[in-house]
Symmetry: C2
Subunit: 117 residues, 2 copies
């Protein structure tokens, strides 16, 4: 066991062997997307410095491999429960979402709906 | 069906009826925590304007009810896949984590470990 892998041992994966990963723009803190990683995604991310995710449809997935919109990982953090990752990234192309949007979080619940519900 | 609840119908909950919710400080964009919501958490959050979450240990959980560190929701967004929520909040007490830290994401993987792995 390499000492450098000890932090990965602390992570808590869910029943499917996955852990959520939040990608945040290192420049202004914008939350760009949330996706899932398994151990291999983390290993590949750490080895390449570029975000890799896992999904049922795409399996192991190098973000931006097709679109060119790769994510260069500047800082990698995990939370107090060690069950969520936070990636501070440089988003190449300034486009994280497959729709072409900068961020996947473009659906705003109107305040009216918040107060009237 | 009230028109104002239609957006909730679009959300995709997991097999446990849960959806991940990222809490972000509205002031500076800091990601403070990630927790889970079920439909009732969302309803309560929307009705009160304060974040409610669900966990296996705490069940339905009004964030800050004990500590006073409630989260006032300023904006509520969901992502392109409608399977993750983003809450832009005012964090009362400037403390989101149960450890007393401002953010739950205080574990930084040292860059050395990133490059050597």
């Amino acid at each position: 066991m390499n000492q450098d892998t000890l932090w990965i041992k602390q992570l808590k994966f869910n029943e499917q062997g996955l852990i959520p990963a939040i990608a945040q723009d290192e420049r202004d803190g914008a939350v760009l997307m949330m996706a899932w990683m398994n151990r291999e995604s983390i290993q590949r991310t750490v080895e390449t410095g570029e975000a890799h995710y896992w999904s049922r449809s795409r399996r192991q997935w190098h973000k931006g491999a097709t679109s060119g919109h790769i994510q260069k990982v500047k800082r990698l953090l995990y939370d107090c429960d060690a069950d969520t990752l936070l990636l501070e990234i440089e988003q190449v192309g300034d486009t994280a979402c497959h729709t072409g949007a900068r961020s996947c979080f473009f659906n705003v619940v109107p305040l009216k709906q918040l107060t009237l519900l």
